[in-house]
C-alpha cells in the first residue's frame, strides 16, 4: 500500500489515517501553509507548522482545534513519523515529510527556492517519493532575482510620485504583500488594505520587521503613496479616493505578455512565491526521489518531461484552484 494516496477529500495517509491539505471536511488534517486553497474550513482537528498556527486561526477561526509543531520537530501518528520543513513559499509554510517503516515521502505544498526575507528559507529534503507542486510547470517560466523586481517596483513608484500619482500594487494578502513591504526600497508612505494589515500583524509576531506602514482607513487620502491591496480589494469608491493612480500587479503570471494584457493593470511584476520550471527540476534532482508525483498546476507537461528523462513520474489530479502566483 502506498504511504500517501489520492482520495476525493485530498491527499491521504492510510496507516496514520490523516489527510494533507484536504479540500473537504475530515477529522484530522495536516496543513502545509495558511493559504486558503490549502488550509480550509471545517476540519475537526488541524496540525500545522507552529509559525502558521495564528495565521490559520486568523483565516479560519479563533476556536478551531489546532496543534503546532516546529520545523524539524518529529511527531508520530499510528507509528507514522511526520515533520515540517520550511517551504520558503510564505511565512510559516512547510513541506511535509512522512516516514513509515523506513520509507520516506515528501509533499512540498507550495514552495520556492529564493530567499525572500519574510519566509523561512527553503531547503530540499531527501526522500524516496516526492509530491511536488507545479503551479508554474512550463519551461517558459524563468524567474529573475527578486532584487531586480524590487528595483523595478521602486523606480516605478518614484516615477509615479514625480507625476503626482499614487501607486497601487495588487498582491495576495498573505505572503506576497509582506514580501513587498519588506523589500521595496522606501520612498514615501505605504498604506495597506485591512486584510493585509491583519496578516502583517501576525507575521510581525513571527519576528519579521517591516518599514513603517499604515492600515488604509476610510478617512485616509493617500498622496504619492504606495498602496498594497489584494486583487479583490479594489473598489470603485477606493479608486475614486485615490485619484490618479497607476496599478501594478505582482505575480508570476505577469511574466507572459498575453496574461499581462488580459489582467488590465498598468504594470506587471513577475514576482512569484512559487518555484519556476528549473526550480522544480532542481528539487526533483536534489530530493533524490525515485518516484515523483506532480500536483497543483500544469502537471502533464512536467510528468511527460520527467518520464522522458527516465523518471517514474505521475500526475496527481488537480485538487487546488489556481492561486495567485
Amino acid at each position: 500500500m502506498p504511504l500517501l494516496e489520492v482520495r476525493s477529500q485530498g491527499i491521504y495517509c492510510p496507516p496514520a489515517d490523516v489527510f494533507l491539505d484536504p479540500h473537504r471536511a475530515v477529522s484530522k488534517a495536516i496543513i502545509s501553509h495558511a493559504h486558503s486553497d490549502h488550509a480550509r474550513w471545517g476540519m475537526q482537528h488541524y496540525i500545522a507548522p507552529t509559525p502558521s498556527v495564528n495565521l490559520i486561526k486568523a483565516r479560519i477561526g479563533k476556536n478551531i482545534s489546532i496543534a503546532g509543531f516546529a520545523y524539524g520537530e518529529e511527531f508520530t501518528i499510528n507509528g507514522v513519523k511526520f515533520s515540517f520543513h520550511p517551504a520558503g513559499h510564505i511565512p510559516g509554510s512547510a513541506q511535509i515529510r512522512v516516514e513509515y517503516h523506513g520509507e520516506i515521502w515528501v509533499y512540498t505544498g507550495d514552495f520556492k527556492w529564493e530567499v525572500d526575507h519574510v519566509s523561512e528559507p527553503f531547503y530540499p529534503v531527501t526522500c524516496h517519493t516526492l509530491i511536488t507542486e507545479c503551479t508554474f510547470g512550463f519551461p517558459v517560466f524563468q524567474w529573475r532575482k527578486q532584487d531586480f523586481w524590487f528595483q523595478q517596483m521602486g523606480e516605478w513608484w518614484q516615477q509615479n510620485q514625480e507625476e503626482g500619482k499614487n501607486s497601487m500594487v495588487l498582491a495576495y494578502s498573505l505572503g506576497k504583500a509582506q514580501r513587498i513591504l519588506k523589500n521595496i526600497p522606501s520612498c514615501g508612505s505605504i498604506y495597506v488594505h485591512p486584510a493585509v494589515a491583519e496578516m502583517n500583524d501576525w507575521v510581525m509576531e513571527l519576528g519579521v520587521n517591516f518599514q513603517p506602514w499604515k492600515k488604509l482607513t476610510a478617512n485616509d487620502k493617500p498622496e504619492k503613496s504606495l498602496i498594497i491591496l489584494p486583487p479583490s480589494g479594489q473598489s470603485d469608491g477606493l479608486m475614486k479616493r485615490l485619484g490618479e493612480v497607476e496599478v501594478g500587479m505582482a505575480s508570476g503570471w505577469m511574466g507572459v505578455r498575453g496574461k499581462r494584457s488580459w489582467s488590465s493593470v498598468d504594470r506587471g511584476f513577475a514576482l512569484s512565491d512559487h518555484a519556476d520550471w528549473q526550480g522544480i527540476i532542481d528539487l526533483v534532482d536534489a530530493s533524490q526521489a525515485e518516484t515523483v508525483f506532480a500536483t497543483h498546476g500544469n502537471t502533464d507537461v512536467l510528468v511527460r518531461y520527467l518520464t522522458e528523462k527516465g523518471k517514474d513520474a505521475r500526475a496527481w489530479g488537480a485538487f487546488f484552484e489556481r492561486e495567485e502566483g
Binding site: 517558459v140 529573475r144 511574466g255 507572459v256 498575453g258 488590465s264
Partner: protein, 516 residues
C-alpha cells in the same frame, strides 16, 4: 540596442500617453540617426520581412534549447505567441551584449538577402546567446515579422516633432508614402525644410462628431457626402488622386485623372469621390464596383460613372493655403475652375441647422459638415473647428481587433468579430458583431485574419488592427459592465471601409457622443 530596449521596456510599462511621449522623447533626444530611424520604422510598422518561417524558427528553438517538439508546442500554446515563447525559453546570459539597433538591423538585412539557411541559423543562435530578455523579445518579434507596440504613429511623430522643434504636421507630412529607414532619410525628416516629390499629399483634416454647444452662426455648413474622401494633386504637369487610406488611386478613375489635367499646376484639392446615376449622387455600392480594379474598361466607366466633388483648396499656384481662413479658401476654390464644387452656406440658428440635416437624405448626403468659417486646414482629428453631424448617427467606424470562428456551416471561417474604437492611442473593444458582409468579403476577411494573427487565446485570435468596418446599431447606452463604458444594441456590420486606415476609425469620444 540598450537605448531601444529601454524604450520598449518603458513603453511597455505604462498605459499613460504622457509617459509614453516622455519615453519616446528621451529616446529620440539621444539616439543616433541610424538607430532613431530604425526605431521609427519598427514603431510605425515599416518593418522588414521576416527572416525565417515560423515553422523553421520553432525547429531551431527546439534545437537550441535541446527541447522536444511537443514541449515547445505546449509552451507555444500556453504563451500564445511564438516570438515571446522563444524569448522566454532562452536562458539569460552571464553577460548581456547590446549591439546598436542599426547594426543589428544592418546584419538582419544582409541575412535577409542570403539564401543560406545555416548562416542565418548560426547568426540567430549567436544573438540568442548574448541577449537579455527584452532584447530577445524584440529580436524574435522582428524575426517573425510581427514587431508591434502599443504606440500609435501619432505619438511617435509628436515626440520627434518636439525633440527637433518641428511642427507635428511637417513630420506627419514627410512620413507619408514610402520611405527607407536610412540615415539620410532621418536627416531629411528632421531637417528644417525638405524637397517633396510632386505626388506628396497633405495629411487630411478630419472632423469630430457635433456636440452642439457652439454658436452655429460661426460655421459654414455643407453636405456630408457618402463617398470616398480624396485629395487631388496636380504638380509638375502630373496628377495624383490619394485616398484617405494613403493610397494613390489615380489609375482606377481615368475620367477623373483626365479632367484633373485641366487644373493649373500647383493645385491641391480636398474633395469626395462620388458615384452618380442620372446626374444624381448614387449609392456607395456603385463606387465599390469601381474600387480596386486594375483595368478600367470604357463600358465600366459608362455604367458606373463617378465624379470628384471639391470641398477645399489646400494649394494654389504651388503655395500652401492651409493656414488661410476657410472662407477665403472656399472663395479661391470657386475661382480655380473645377467643375464640381460642393455647395456651402450658413445658418442663423439650431432649428435651421436641424431643418437642413433632416433633408440630407433627399440630397443623397449622410448629414452635414460644420466647419468654422475661420478654420485652418489642420492635421488629423484635432477637436474644435470641424464637425460632422450625421442623419443617422447610429453608426461608427471600428477596427477589427479579435476574431473567432463561426458555427455550423461557417465553422471553418472567421465570422465573429470583436470591434474596437480608439481611446487615445489604445484600441478599446466595444462590440461583437457577426458578419453582415458578402460571401466574397467574408472570405477575404477570413484570409486576412489567418495571415495576420498576432496572438491566440483558445478560439480567439488577436488580429493586426488594420481592417475598418462601419458598424450600425439599434441603440446605445452607458454601461458599467463593459470596459468601454458603452453598450450598443444589435450591432451589425454595414460595410467594409477599405478606404479608411485603422488610424481613422472613430474614437470612444465619438461613440459616447451618440448617447443622448
Amino acid at each position: 540596442m540598450m537605448d531601444f530596449e529601454l524604450l520598449v521596456d518603458r513603453l511597455d510599462a505604462t498605459n499613460s500617453t504622457n509617459s509614453k511621449v516622455k519615453a519616446l522623447e528621451t529616446f529620440f533626444k539621444t539616439a543616433s540617426a541610424s538607430t532613431a530611424v530604425w526605431a521609427l520604422a519598427l514603431l510605425s510598422g515599416n518593418r522588414p520581412k521576416r527572416l525565417v518561417s515560423t515553422t523553421l524558427l520553432k525547429e531551431w528553438g527546439c534545437e537550441k534549447q535541446a527541447m522536444p517538439a511537443w514541449l515547445m508546442d505546449e509552451c507555444y500554446a500556453f504563451v500564445g505567441d511564438l516570438a515571446e515563447t522563444l524569448a522566454l525559453l532562452t536562458p539569460n546570459p552571464e553577460i548581456e551584449i547590446h549591439p546598436s539597433l542599426s547594426i543589428l538591423m544592418g546584419e538582419y538585412l544582409q541575412h535577409l538577402k542570403s539564401e543560406h539557411l545555416p548562416v542565418k541559423k548560426a547568426w540567430i543562435f549567436s544573438q540568442w546567446e548574448t541577449m537579455g530578455p527584452t532584447q530577445r523579445w524584440i529580436f524574435n518579434k522582428i524575426l517573425t515579422g510581427g514587431f508591434r507596440l502599443g504606440v500609435s504613429q501619432k505619438l511617435v511623430i509628436k515626440a520627434i516633432a518636439r525633440v527637433h522643434s518641428l511642427p507635428e504636421e511637417t513630420v506627419t507630412h514627410r512620413l507619408l508614402g514610402k520611405w527607407n529607414p536610412s540615415e539620410s532619410f532621418w536627416h531629411e525628416l528632421i531637417a528644417p525644410t525638405m524637397e517633396m516629390p510632386p505626388s506628396h499629399p497633405y495629411p487630411f483634416f478630419l472632423a469630430n462628431t457635433w456636440e452642439g454647444k457652439l454658436p452655429v452662426q460661426d460655421f459654414l455648413v455643407e453636405w456630408k457626402w457618402d463617398g470616398i474622401r480624396c485629395m487631388a494633386i496636380k504638380r509638375n504637369n502630373q496628377v495624383f488622386l490619394w485616398s484617405r487610406g494613403e493610397e494613390i488611386i489615380t489609375h482606377q478613375f481615368p475620367e477623373i485623372e483626365k479632367s484633373l489635367m485641366n487644373l493649373p499646376d500647383g493645385t491641391v484639392i480636398d474633395g469626395e469621390l462620388l458615384p452618380v446615376q442620372n446626374g444624381e449622387v448614387a449609392d456607395f455600392s456603385i463606387l465599390q464596383i469601381r474600387l480596386g480594379r486594375k483595368k478600367v474598361s470604357s463600358k465600366m466607366m459608362e455604367e458606373n460613372p463617378v465624379i470628384f466633388r471639391a470641398y477645399d483648396l489646400l494649394e494654389c499656384n504651388g503655395t500652401d493655403l492651409r493656414t488661410l481662413p476657410l472662407l477665403e479658401r472656399k472663395l479661391k476654390l470657386e475661382q480655380i475652375g473645377w467643375n464640381d464644387v460642393s455647395p456651402f452656406w450658413s445658418v442663423s440658428n439650431e432649428a435651421e441647422l436641424e431643418q437642413f440635416r433632416s433633408r440630407s437624405l433627399e440630397h443623397r448626403a449622410e448629414g452635414l459638415m460644420l466647419k468654422h468659417q475661420h478654420s485652418e486646414y489642420g492635421v488629423g482629428r484635432t477637436k474644435g473647428s470641424w464637425w460632422k453631424f450625421k442623419v443617422d448617427p447610429r453608426s461608427i467606424d471600428a477596427v477589427l481587433l479579435y476574431a473567432q470562428a463561426g458555427h455550423g456551416r461557417r465553422a471553418n471561417l472567421f465570422t465573429d468579430y470583436t470591434l474596437a474604437v480608439w481611446d487615445g492611442d489604445r484600441l478599446l473593444p466595444f462590440a461583437k458583431a457577426y458578419s453582415g458582409l458578402t460571401k466574397e468579403e467574408i472570405e477575404e476577411v477570413d484570409k486576412f485574419i489567418k495571415a495576420n494573427t498576432l496572438e491566440r487565446f483558445g478560439p480567439v485570435r488577436t488580429v493586426k488592427p488594420e481592417l475598418v468596418f462601419e458598424i450600425g446599431f439599434e441603440g446605445i447606452g452607458e454601461s458599467k459592465r463593459h470596459k468601454s463604458g458603452v453598450a450598443v444594441r444589435f450591432p451589425r456590420i454595414l460595410r467594409w471601409r477599405k478606404d479608411k486606415p485603422a488610424t481613422e476609425a472613430n474614437t470612444i469620444e465619438d461613440l459616447r457622443a451618440l448617447i443622448r
